[in-house]
């Protein structure tokens, strides 16, 4: 615990909005247009393949966007200082949620190509479950979940942008912060802290139900209680990786105005490291318990996913999401090395997409199947839309939450 109080007051210079290379935005636009065309073609030519691929990429970018909301909420609810310097990057991720909402509306039309329960004539043994998986009800649930997440993302970002404006006008922004309690040393939670606590509780419930609806019910007879946590572990790990990736790429190009320091790299990679362990912990325990109990109705899930070539994907996941991030980032010295950080962040992000691919695809392809042009087209489409939303936000607003009164502490590393 070193003290850095001499540097506590840091002069904050507004780095302003990011000016991305014009080619980047054009590239995203092109990817979106070309990808959407391929998606449309795919849905026309081979609907089952196309909708499964749609689910993979739709969910992937939804998860990345949600990780932004979650990281922001986590900062507010814990009153963290260290993450203020890069909070704007997490906020930018949430700006994809309105597009995700539209994508959810489209997604509803693919149900009958994806889910056995959405096919005419499918019957569950029990009436209650039949009712729960009424396609209309599932669609309504999906829209409510994504709508709620969108609402919270919007509220968090609005608060942050308002602070920026107040700061530019030279007003004190302290009123947004946790207040000191008159009777003691403790702090009163800020409005955002309360909102975040509410969000996290709501998020745990809705995200779990969504993961059951969208992924687990691909095989309606299979279930595991860990599933919501499994997808959440992936979300959390990929969230750190994406923020780290954006931080490195933007800092390299001088877009963050020198406000993101090395100690943020160290701590971001530490979080990535920690949550890669969390990911493997959840994945391993789920696997172990299903393997050990050896119920055919449960092992079928893993059996489909470790035989006929899919086992290599499973191994890849283990290496991409855990072995490499864990062993490489174990070394304290590399935690400031931008090239290593970039490599690890990319690996985890690719791993997360492959994880979803591995969860969804073996159901329609018994043998390992390299992503088809349709699946890749869909990935391209969502990537383009996601990139446009995120870079669009960052090129309109300051790349750092300059209005947050704790920014100088975050930059100076007072929390160390």
């Amino acid at each position: 615990m070193s003290s850095l109080h001499e540097t506590a007051v840091v002069k904050i210079e507004d780095p302003g909005p990011a000016r991305f290379a014009p080619g980047l935005r054009r590239g995203f636009l092109l990817a979106a247009v070309a990808g959407l065309a391929l998606t449309a073609l795919g849905i026309w030519r081979s609907p089952q393949e196309a909708w499964n691929g749609y689910l993979v990429s739709y969910l992937y970018f939804l998860i990345l966007s949600l990780s932004g909301v979650f990281l922001v909420a986590l900062e507010y609810v814990t009153g963290a200082t260290w993450s203020v310097a890069f909070r704007r990057l997490a906020e930018a991720l949430t700006r994809y949620l309105p597009i995700a909402f539209l994508a959810t509306i489209v997604f509803v039309f693919g149900f009958r190509h994806l889910y056995p329960w959405a096919q005419p004539g499918y019957h569950f043994a029990r009436a209650a479950k039949q009712a729960w998986y009424n396609p209309g009800l599932v669609s309504a649930r999906a829209l409510i979940y994504v709508g709620l997440w969108m609402l919270f993302g919007w509220l968090f970002v609005r608060r942050s942008l308002r602070m920026d404006e107040a700061w530019r006008r030279g007003e004190s922004t302290a009123r947004w912060l946790p207040r000191r309690h008159p009777g003691g040393f403790g702090k009163l939670p800020s409005a955002a802290g309360r909102l975040s606590a509410g969000f996290i509780v709501l998020f745990a419930a809705t995200f779990t139900l969504a993961s059951f609806d969208w992924v687990m019910s691909l095989d309606p007879r299979w279930n595991t209680t860990m599933f919501g946590v499994y997808l959440f572990a992936g979300l959390f790990e990929a969230g750190w990786a994406l923020v780290l990736l954006m931080a490195v790429l933007m800092r390299r190009r001088g877009m963050l105005g020198g406000l993101l320091r090395d100690h943020q790299y160290v701590d971001l990679s530490r979080m990535l490291h920690a949550f890669s362990i969390f990911m493997v912990y959840i994945g391993f325990e789920q696997y172990l318990l299903i393997w050990y109990a050896n119920y055919p109705s449960e092992t079928i899930f893993y059996h489909q996913r470790i035989t006929n070539g899919w086992g290599w994907v499973f191994l890849f996941l283990m290496f991409a999401k855990w072995v490499f991030p864990f062993t490489v980032l174990l070394n304290q010295k590399v935690r400031k090395n931008e090239r290593v950080l970039l490599a690890m962040a990319w690996l985890v992000l690719i791993g997360e997409w492959v994880d979803l691919y591995w969860l969804v695809m073996p159901r329609i392809h018994a043998h390992f199947y390299f992503p088809s042009w349709i699946t890749l087209g869909e990935l391209l489409a969502f990537l383009g839309l996601f990139g446009l939303a995120v870079t669009g936000f960052l090129s309109r607003h300051s790349t750092v939450a300059v209005g947050d009164p704790r920014l100088s502490h975050s930059v100076a590393g007072d929390y160390l």
Partner: protein, 480 residues
């Protein structure tokens, strides 16, 4: 710099600067800290201490006699009977192991997260961990029946070429718990060395000086000492962190690998870990609420510390509730008849659901104490009320014991066929051994507060001045 708009430089508004509230009262001096914390060790214990000690030792005695009785008479004197062959001993084992988790979380994870407030409570919480693990470890040894052959659990080369069953989670427990006990003990002891030296320097009596001196391992408080100390501490913290997850995950697998309805659930490992931290923090709150009062340590274990612990209790309560809800939802969702019937069904005409069956009282105590009542901590006023947090934390301890009871006992008593249904009824021997384990725990804890500084003096000094922006305390000063 490729910025569209020229960077606008605005001096930070001075009003906007936030000061972190200090952890401790501003006028505390370093020597005052030493005096306040070490003073109780010089005084003779008061009547309350003796009363508490007497009660604890009596309970311990009752437990010890019962254990001897059980060793002579056999496990049959307990409520154990087919089909419930795991009774309160296993419940107590899981309960005590869980209690121990707060210590490791505070000493390892909060340390890595740079939570400075941990300094006020880590010593006591770590001590509690050790004592809880001691209590926990006794139960499997007693439960195996032929306790004198317990060493058979350890794999070692032997003439009969007999090996333990490495595929059994019960054996994983042996490794997990013994590793946990070792690391926790090392961590606790290492953190104590500077303070033992402080006590050594303050003690007047020659014998006391000698004894504390031996345990202080010739600590001189030089920069070199501190250097080694801090690197070792960091490493132990890193080793202990996975242990927070692994130990209780292992314990959960004692159940989750089996196929009994109510046991086979993949969420068990993280759910048990959350439950362990939950119950552990509840125990820390219960104990610290008393200790800070009795030892006049309100300036060190402040209401803020207590409030933060209540927040952790709230968070872990939500996690545990999430796990319960997932289990209940999954049971409904599942295609497994037995899993569903455990919670909702009528099984071959016999009503025995979780909520209404013979174990419903345990289930409702569990839900009330673990899920509903801790929600009161959403209110700041209640989080900062000592009587309230004391009561709620006691409730959590009760609720967590009943949670384990529900899991261990009721799942065995209601398996697949009505012909193998049973009802477990603890006997007075079950209760006596449980009481004895509390006696052991509190006896050890009372001895701990009597002979060792309950608060990490050196660590408190290290963070004493930091938040108010004064220069940090130097290494030498910490030992003043």
């Amino acid at each position: 710099m490729s910025l569209e708009h020229p960077a606008t430089t605005i001096e930070r508004h001075p009003m906007a600067l936030v000061e972190e509230p200090p952890l401790y009262r501003a006028d505390l001096t370093l020597s005052q800290v030493t005096r306040d914390i070490v003073a109780p060790l010089d005084r003779r214990p008061n009547g309350w201490w003796w009363l508490a000690f007497l009660i604890s030792v009596t309970l311990l005695g009752v437990g010890a006699i019962t254990v001897v009785w059980q060793l002579r008479a056999g496990l049959g004197i307990l409520g154990l009977t087919w089909p419930t062959m795991w009774g309160t001993y296993i419940t107590n084992f899981v309960f005590w192991i869980g209690i121990g988790h707060a210590g490791t979380l505070i000493s390892a994870i909060l340390f890595l997260f740079r939570q400075r407030w941990r300094t006020a409570i880590n010593r006591a919480a770590e001590a509690m961990t050790i004592f809880a693990v001691i209590c926990a470890g006794l139960f499997p040894l007693l439960h195996i029946g032929r306790t004198l052959l317990a060493y058979w659990l350890i794999p070692y080369p032997n003439f009969r070429h007999l090996w333990v069953n490495f595929r059994s989670p019960l054996i994983w427990d042996v490794f997990a718990v013994s590793t946990y006990a070792t690391i926790s003990l090392l961590f606790w002891y290492q953190g104590m060395i500077p303070d033992l030296a402080t006590v050594r320097d303050h003690k007047q009596g020659r014998i006391a000086k000698k004894i504390y001196g031996i345990f202080a391992m010739n600590w001189r408080g030089t920069a070199r000492d501190w250097n080694h100390y801090e690197s070792a501490y960091g490493m132990l913290a890193a080793i202990a962190t996975p242990l927070v997850l692994s130990v209780h995950s292992n314990v959960s697998m004692d159940f989750a690998v089996a196929t009994a309805p109510g046991w086979h659930s993949t969420i068990f490992p993280p759910y048990f870990v959350a439950g362990a931290i939950f119950s552990g923090f509840a125990m820390v709150v219960t104990l610290m609420a008393i200790v800070r009062k009795v030892y006049n340590l309100e300036d060190y274990v402040t209401l803020d510390h207590m409030e933060l612990m209540c927040k952790i209790i709230l968070v872990t309560s939500l996690m545990v509730s999430y796990a319960y809800a997932t289990e209940m939802f999954s049971a409904w969702y599942s295609t497994d008849l037995y899993e569903r019937n455990r919670f909702y069904g009528v099984h071959f005409g016999l009503t025995h659901t979780f909520f209404t069956g013979p174990y419903a009282y345990a289930a409702w105590i569990m839900l009330a104490c673990n899920c509903f009542i801790p929600q009161l901590f959403w209110f700041r006023r209640l989080r900062r009320s000592l009587p309230m947090m004391f009561l709620i934390s006691l409730g959590v301890n009760l609720g967590m014991w009943f949670e384990r009871y529900t899991i261990v006992v009721s799942s065995q008593a209601r398996q697949f066929l009505p012909s193998s249904f049973g009802y477990f009824r603890p006997t007075r021997f079950d209760y006596a051994v449980l009481a004895g384990s509390f006696g052991l725990f509190f006896t050890l804890f009372l001895l701990f507060v009597r002979f060792v500084p309950v608060i990490a003096v050196a660590e408190v000094k290290a963070v004493l001045r930091q938040p108010v922006g004064e220069p940090a305390v130097t290494l030498e000063e910490r030992h003043a």
